[in-house]
C-alpha cells in the first residue's frame, strides 16, 4: 500500500530531476525544482501514515509545511534573479550563461 505512494513520489522526483538537468529555460528549471520538492513532500506525508509504535508519527506533516514555506521563499528569490538576468542578458537560456568556465 505504502509503496504506491513512494513509487509515485519517486516518479515525480525523477521527472523533476530530468527537467532540471535537461531543460535550458531557467523558468522551466525552477518549475521542475518544484516538482522535485513536491515528490519529497509526498514521501514525508506518506510515511507519516506508517504506525510508529502505537501512535502515528505526525512529524512528517511539519516538515512538509516547512518545505512549502522555504520553497515559496526560494521561488521568490529565484524569480527575482531570473528577472534581473533577463534584464541584463536578454535571455533565460542557461546554455548562454556559461561565464564561469575554468
Amino acid at each position: 500500500m505504502i509503496s504506491y505512494y513512494l513509487l509515485f513520489a519517486a516518479a515525480l522526483f525523477s521527472i523533476g530531476a530530468y527537467g532540471v538537468l535537461a531543460r535550458r529555460n531557467v523558468l522551466i528549471i525552477l518549475m521542475s525544482l518544484e516538482l522535485m520538492l513536491n515528490g519529497v513532500n509526498i514521501v514525508f506525508v506518506a510515511l507519516s501514515l506508517v504506525p510508529h509504535g502505537v501512535q502515528m508519527a505526525p512529524g512528517g506533516h511539519v516538515f512538509v509545511l516547512m518545505v512549502m514555506a522555504v520553497a515559496a521563499a526560494e521561488v521568490a528569490v529565484g524569480l527575482a534573479i531570473v528577472i534581473a538576468l533577463f534584464r541584463t542578458r536578454q535571455t533565460v537560456d542557461i546554455n548562454d550563461l556559461q561565464m564561469m568556465s575554468g
Binding site: V20, L21, I94, N95, L97, Q98, M99, S101, G102
Partner: protein
Amino acid sequence: MEIESSLYLIPLLPLVGFLVNGLLGNQLPKWLVAVIACTGPFIAFLLSVQALQALATHPEGLHQAMFSWISTGTLNVPFGLQVDALTAIMLMNVTGIGTAIHLYSYGYMHADPSFSRFMAYLNLFLAAMLMLVMGDNLLLLFVGWEGVGLCSYLLIGFWYQDFANVDAGRKAFIVNRIGDFAFLIGAFTLYSLTGTLEWHGMEQAVAALDLNAMVVSGPMTGMPIMVALMIAGLCLFGGATGKSAQIPLYVWLPDAMAGPTPVSALIHAATMVTAGIYLLGRMDFLFVLLPAVMGVIALVAACTALLSGLIAIAQNDIKKVLAYSTVSQLGFMFAGMATGFFHTGLFHVVTHAFFKALLFLGAGAVIVAMHHEQDIRKMGGLWKDLKGVSILFIIGSLALAGVPPFAGFYSKDAILAAVYYQAASPGASPEWMVIFGMLVFTAGLTAFYTTRLVVLTFFGKPADEHRHLHEVHWTMMAVLAFLAALSALAGVLGLGTWLDTFTHHVWSPPAVEVNEALEHTAHYVAMGSSTAVVVLGIGAGLFLYLSESRREALDRWTKGSGARVYGMASHKFFVDEFYEAFIVNPIGWLAKLLWGVVDRIVIDSGIVEGSALSVSGFSAALRHTQVGAVSAATTSTLVGVIVVVLWLVLHG
C-alpha cells in the same frame, strides 16, 4: 680584599678588555687600546699572585660559587671558580706570559690597521683560557676549551685577505672539533658513571666505584666499570690530542704559524696547547686507575715527539721549526704526565712556556728586522747586526735544547727520569723502555735542530750583504729580556723542587710505592743520557752547519743521493697528503655526492619543487572539468548524491 670572593675578576677583566676594544677600539687612539688591552691581563696576573699566596694558608684550595648554571632534572651544573695548586701554576703561566705577550704585541702589531681587533681577540683568548683552568667542573672547562679553539681560529686567520691564512685557521678549528667530539664522548661517559661534573664530586664518585663490578644503568649497562672508565680516559685523551697537538691531530699546529707571531707565542707555545696537559692533570684521579691508558698516552706522546723532531730538522721556515719543536715538547709533557709523576709534566709546561714564548717572540723580532722574511736560508750572519736579539734567542735555544743549567734541562730531565723509573720498575711493561729510548733520541734531535736553527739564522755569511734591518721596538726587547731571565734561571733556582712540593697534595698518589733507590738511579741515568745526547746533538749541528764547505756538501747530499730520506722529512712524512687522500678527499666526495644527488635531485627537485609541481599539474588537469555549464554542475551534483546514497544504503 679577600681574594677568594674576587676570583671572578681574573677571567672577567680580560673579557671586559675584549668588549671595550672589540666594540669601541676603532674609535680609540692606539695607545689607549694598548693600555686597555694590557691592563686587564696585568691586574689578572696580580690577582693570580694573590691567589697563589693565599694557597699557603688554604692548602685545600680556593673556591667561589657564583650561581647555578644549568639545572634540569638530575643534571645540575653550578657556575663556580676554583684555584688549587695546579690551577694556580697554570694561572701564573697564562696571565704572566700572557701579559708579556700583550705588551710585545703593541710593539709588533701597532702599525697594523686592525690593531684594536687583534688586541681584542688576544684578550678574549686569555679570558677563555682562564675559564678553562679556573672552572670548577668539566662543562665549564669545556666552555674555555671551545673559547680558545674559537680564538685560535680568529687569530690564525687574522690576516684574512690572504686565503692561505684563512685555510690554516679553518684547519685548526676543524681538527680541534674532531678532538672536541672525543672530549664530549668522554665527558658523557664519566657523567653517566659518576652523575656529576664537578671535580670534587667526580673524584669522590670515581674513588667509590667498584672497579670489578658492572655498570647497572644507562646505555652501558652490563659493561665492566673498568672498561667504561678506559673509554672515558681514552676519549678525554683524544680531546687532549686535538688541543695539545699530538698524533693523530697535531697537523693543525704547524699550519697555525700563518697567524701573527705573537699569536704563535701565546696560543701555540705558552697557553692553548697546554690545555690538554692541564686536562690530564685535572683528571689525574681517573688516569691513575688506568695504567693501560697511561701506557697508550706515553706511546702516542713518544711517537709524536720523535716524528715532529725528525720533521723539524728539515724545515726552513723559522716559525715552522719552532712549531714542530712545540709539538715535540708537548710529546715530552704528555709522556711525563703518563708516568703518573704529574708534576714533571707540569714543570715542563712552565719552563716550556718561558723558553718557547721567548723563542717565538725572538723569532718575531728577527722577522720584523728582516722585513717579514721567515726563511732561515735567507738570513745568516744576523749576529753582527742584532746582538741583543741574538743573545736572548740563543738563551732560549739553549733552554730548548736542554743544556744545563738552563730551565729546559731540568724539566726534560725530570720527565726522562720519571719515564726511566717507570721502565725500570719491577713488572713494568717493556714498552716503557722503548718510550724512554725514543724520548732520549728526541732530546738529541732537539739539540741538533735547535743548533741548526741558531747557526743558520745568526752565524755564517749573510745571504744579502746590503740588507737594511728594521729597528726592533723597545717593548719587544723588554719582554724578551724578561723571558730570557726566566728561561735561564728558573731551573737553577729550584722551580722543579718547589713545584713538586707545592702541588704534591693535589695529585692522586701513583699506584706503585716509591722506591727511593730506583728514583736515584733513574735520576742519574736520565741526566747522563740526556746530557750525552745533547752534547752529541749540538756537536753534530755545529759540525755540519758552521763550516761553509760542509754545509754545501750537505746541500748537495740533500739534492742528490739523500734526496729521498731528506724529502720524507722536509715533506713532513706526507702526513698531510695522507690525510688529504684518505680523509679529506673522501669526505669531499661524499659531500659532493650528498649535494648533487640528495640535495639537488631528491630534496630540491623531488620534494620541494616536486610537491609544488604536482599540485599545479593536478589542478591544471582538474580545471578542464570546470566548464561553467549549469547542467554539467547539476548533473555531477546528482551523480554525487546518488553515489553517496547508494553507498549509505549498501554499507550503512
